[in-house]
């Protein structure tokens, strides 16, 4: 009884501590936002005494109309400055300032994404460790989560350093523009800074408290802290997103760019939420990719079978988490583009059909590469399971489906051709391939690719297992029917899309996506249930996988990184010659859009630079490792997500 009391006391104290902790961490957020929302953050031009303190005969407050929300509000800020090319607005080195800013921004973004993604990753893995009944496996998960927080700790300081570099670059090279942005976002920027402190504090306690909070209830407190860490991280990211969303689709200001006192309008612009969702998913896919590449690198350099087994497993887990977030990513992207079109038709056309359309073709290549690589890795994974050979004969059919869809997916709307080819073809539009160049075909292709990826995963889940549940034949028949119907439905809707108005066609993406997601959720869940207690034909031998699979993981990560760089560039350059779209014009000599070749080289440079520095981070992480990772001997059963093994 006395012990129980002691335990109960401990629990109360732990709850109390956690509550205080959360309260303190979130205090800056609560304190700052109402201040801003009530218009208490006047811009410099209007930083006189608050209205209440003004004499009664003071000039009436000037009102103006919100450019997006169309609401009226008091003019608080100064109009957007009209810059001129010169040292006042655009001081510079003997170099293109925009390129310097590009590198600083991109590197900060890569690290920012990584340190936001890895804690989510850790949270999932640590939680898996807690709920896993097998103690050895639980320790393995726990160790994995710990290893990654350790890596993210170094990456975290790099993120902060890069953030500093970014701000200095803005202040020194684009002072007028940054001044304007800061005048509007002042409360948000302060909140951001304070949240950064909160994030750091939580991360340090999370990391250094790992051993102290190892057992029992304290472990739950520890994993709860990872939730808090991720909430803060996500809010941080959303605040930073509000700045770029404002630059792209401003709100909360009038047509002259004068702040109208409602900070929520400034934050909550029309593209803010689509960007938020897209970035959260993208960060996770990217984080999974980087971790998987790390594991692949360690696998390739491993000296022992134990090491190989461990890093094979780690690569698989990371890839799995990354791909889980990759699958909804195209849908989030679709939503973002839809909102862009709804915001400004010109912007949408510049992106998808005009000036930047060629970059979207490159993006299509990267997306296709991601899915192909994922499938390839899963097929290679069959090699580590004895008894999975029976599924390998289906690979060639899946390759065919994927490549055919990829061909449709990649066919450009506007083809590159010599004038002679143009004449031979008889015009810009090809009667066969022209049909592959439009959205209806693309939607069909990408949904088929994703559905096939799900099928590959189900095949992988089954690998060395034979279901023993009584209803297995029925389940198999259902799965067969589900996927057949899905393929028929997706392709039929893609064809039907040519015969209906555009707004209906856009709406057709919903049933297509629903079909794909049904296959994902219903198919995988049903299969997992069928595989419970299934008979194993042979063991899963971690580490016995081809080196090609590991190169596939590295390629996956590189493709993620490259694509992030590319899409970031596209999103940013769609503003064309505006700092803030239609509000503040870019009058620097660099307001033109770069050539595709230059942009591609810059993206590649950024990717290379990131991978070089992240290798350094990994190397730092490995310095602290005193012993070999927890042994997962060859042939030993180790856990994987989705309860497949």
């Amino acid at each position: 009884m006395a012990t129980l009391n002691k335990q109960a006391q401990k629990k109360i104290w732990a709850f109390f501590a956690l509550g205080t902790f959360v309260g303190l961490l979130l205090m800056p957020l609560f304190l700052s936002l109402p201040v801003g929302a009530s218009g208490g953050a006047p811009a410099p031009a209007a930083s006189t005494a608050p209205p209440a303190a003004q004499p009664a005969d003071a000039k009436p407050v000037e009102k103006s109309r919100d450019i997006w929300y169309k609401t009226e509000g008091p003019v608080i800020g100064a109009p957007a400055p009209k810059t001129t090319d010169g040292p006042k607005d655009y001081p510079r080195y003997n170099f293109e300032s925009r390129v310097l800013l590009w590198v600083a921004n991109q590197q900060h973004l890569y690290y920012g994404s990584f340190v936001l993604a890895v804690p989510i990753f850790c949270m999932v893995v640590e939680y898996l460790g807690i709920i896993t009944k097998d103690k050895a496996l639980a320790r393995k998960y726990d160790q994995l989560a710990y290893d990654f927080v350790k890596i993210s700790l170094t990456a975290y300081s790099l993120t902060a350093i890069l953030g500093g570099i970014l701000v200095f670059t803005y202040l020194t090279l684009y002072p007028t523009f940054f001044g304007y942005l800061a005048s509007i976002f002042r409360p948000v920027m302060h909140t951001y800074a304070l949240l950064f402190v909160a994030e750091s504090g939580t991360l340090y306690i999370y990391y250094y408290g790992w051993d102290k909070m190892r057992e029992g209830f304290l472990k739950w407190v520890h994993v709860s802290m990872s939730v808090i860490l991720n909430v803060i991280g996500t809010v941080l990211m959303m605040l930073a997103n509000s700045w770029i969303a404002f630059m792209q689709s401003p709100a909360g200001v009038d047509a002259d760019g004068r702040y109208l006192g409602n900070i929520w309008h400034v934050i909550h612009t029309t593209l803010w939420n689509p960007i938020n969702v897209h970035r959260i998913l993208g960060n996770m896919a990217f984080g999974g990719g980087v971790v998987a590449a790390y594991a692949a690198y360690r696998f390739l350099t491993a000296k022992t079978d134990e090491e190989r087994a461990h890093y094979d497993w780690m690569g698989y887990v990371a890839m799995f988490i990354g791909v889980c977030f990759l699958i909804p990513l195209p849908f989030a992207g679709y939503w973002l583009m839809r909102e862009v079109y709804a915001y400004r038709q010109q912007m949408g056309i510049t992106l998808m059909g005009g000036l930047l359309a060629w970059l979207f073709i490159i993006q299509a290549v990267m997306i296709g590469a991601l899915f192909l690589t994922t499938n390839y890795y899963l097929w290679q994974g069959l090699e580590r399971m004895r008894g999975a050979e029976r599924y390998q004969k289906y690979i060639k059919y899946m390759v065919f489906v994927l490549i055919t869809c990829f061909i449709v997916w990649l066919t450009p709307h506007t083809m590159v051709m010599t004038p002679a080819e143009l004449k031979a073809m008889g015009g810009q539009q090809h009667p066969v391939l022209g049909n592959y160049g439009v959205m209806s075909a693309k939607n069909g292709a990408i949904n088929t690719i994703i559905t096939t990826t799900v099928l590959s995963f189900i095949m992988y889940q089954r690998g060395n297992k034979v279901p023993t549940v009584k209803w297995a034949p029925l389940g198999d028949a259902f799965l067969f029917g589900l996927f057949t119907m899905a393929y028929v439905n997706i392709i039929w809707l893609a064809v039907y899309g040519y015969y209906i108005p555009a707004n209906v066609r856009v709406g057709l993406s919903v049933p297509q996506v629903a079909t794909t997601l049904s296959c994902l959720f219903i198919g995988v869940t049903l299969n997992s249930i069928m595989m419970k207690g299934a008979k194993e034909l042979g063991p899963t031998v971690w580490g016995q996988i081809s080196v090609r699979s590991q190169y596939a993981l590295i390629m996956l990560a590189t493709a993620f990184t490259w694509m992030m760089g590319l899409m970031g560039y596209i999103r940013s350059s769609v503003r064309l010659f505006w700092h803030v779209n239609e509000i503040m014009r870019d009058n620097s000599p660099w307001a033109f859009t770069h050539t595709i070749g230059f942009a591609a080289n810059m993206i590649s440079f950024n990717v290379l630079f990131f991978w070089m520095t992240i290798l350094f981070v990994f190397w730092l992480g490995s310095l602290g490792v005193k012993k070999a990772p927890a042994a997962a001997s060859v042939g030993q059963k180790v856990p994987v997500p989705a309860g497949s093994h």
């Binding site: 709804a342 400004r344 038709q345 010109q346 056309i349 510049t350 059909g353 005009g354 000036l355 359309a357 060629w358 192909l372 499938n375 390839y376 097929w379 069959l382 090699e383 390998q392 690979i395 390759v399 065919f400 490549i403 055919t404 990829f406 061909i407 449709v408 990649l410 066919t411 450009p412 709307h413 506007t414 083809m415 590159v416 051709m417 010599t418 004038p419 002679a420 080819e421 143009l422 031979a424 073809m425 015009g427 810009q428 539009q429 090809h430 009667p431 066969v432 391939l433 022209g434 049909n435 439009v438 209806s440 040519y498 015969y499 209906i500 108005p501 555009a502 707004n503 081809s546 090609r548």
Partner: protein
């Protein structure tokens, strides 16, 4: 049935070609798989490298000679690369198949027999020549016209001024896309898609379509063709040839106001982004009234059966 018959006789059937191509590719893939399976069953095991080479050569031939009109090289290069990737994924999907694929390559590299030795010698001698030829080829001065990356649909302005009136492209709508009561209707085209515009009792919408058709045949069909497919009698005098409205990538992709802007301003009014402004379309605002422009656009959509892009 007729369509299937035509397909089976090897004809590319207009309107069905995109799906026909995919279907043909699938059939050939199955044929390949079946043939190698059959040979294997009869004791003739075809090496994976040979299979892969055969498949690759076949795909090149298919994309070059089967599809008509000919596909530009840039697209064929994309297709060939994709096929190569697919072939690599297939041959390396299992360890056994990968070994089989590498076997002849390794045998040539090791050169343990007289034949492999000879092949290796030939390869070693030819390789530098091949690289040299490629180098020469890429450095050789080229007299062909350069490739132009043309932006077919440049981003439109927010608004356009025609005959002194400003039209906001995001919000403007055709005054003739109207139902019988004279109200703007998204669905009126669908209702009358099979209607007869020459019927004297035709509803207002169809009458406008008829008027638009008359304007089209007085002004536009010389270039855009009487089937609206961009193959008018003057079409091939121009480079690029006029837009093909029956293609799903032209007016079907655009808002009616976008088309209104392009018709009004013509090639000369292309924005900066529309490099290299290679369009000879006249600015029709100099020849047609605002109403006539809207009517001719109405006719183009009705005749092709496409619907202008609209937003919810």
């Amino acid at each position: 049935m007729d369509v299937i018959k035509q397909m089976l006789t090897g004809k590319l059937v207009e309107g069905y070609m995109p799906m026909q191509m995919l279907f043909e590719l699938g059939s050939f893939a199955l044929l390949f798989i079946g043939a190698f399976y059959f040979l294997g069953k009869n004791g003739i095991k075809v090496n994976k490298l040979a299979q892969a080479t055969g498949l690759f050569v076949f795909s090149i031939l298919y994309f070059t000679y089967r599809i008509y009109p000919p596909i530009p090289f840039s697209v064929r290069a994309i297709y060939a690369t994709m096929t190569l990737i697919g072939i690599f994924m297939w041959v390396s999907s299992t360890e056994e198949s990968w070994k089989d694929f590498r076997k002849p390559i390794i045998a040539v590299a090791d050169a343990n027999t007289a034949i492999t030795k000879m092949i290796r010698t030939v390869v070693v001698v030819l390789l530098p020549f091949l690289v040299g030829f490629m180098g020469y080829n890429s450095m050789k001065p080229n007299v062909d016209e350069p490739i132009e990356l043309r932006t077919v649909h440049p981003a439109p302005p927010a608004s356009t001024k025609v005959h002194g009136k400003t039209f906001v492209l995001q919000t403007a709508s055709s005054p003739y896309r109207v139902d019988d009561a004279g109200k703007y209707s998204d669905t009126i085209q669908k209702t009358h898609i099979d209607g007869n515009p020459w019927d004297e009792k035709a509803p207002p919408y169809l009458q406008y379509v008829r008027e638009g058709g008359q304007i089209f045949f007085q002004n536009c069909h010389f270039c855009h063709g009487d089937n609206l497919n961009g193959r008018g009698m003057f079409a091939f005098a121009f480079n690029p040839i006029p837009a093909n409205f029956t293609d799903p990538g032209t007016i079907a992709q655009l808002q009616e106001t976008f088309v209104f802007w392009r018709v009004s301003k013509g090639g000369i009014g292309l924005p900066r982004e529309g490099f290299p402004w290679a369009s000879v379309m006249p600015p029709w605002e100099q020849h047609l009234t605002v109403d006539e422009i809207w009517k001719v656009i109405l006719f183009e959509y009705w005749h092709t059966g496409y619907y202008p892009r609209t937003w919810d």
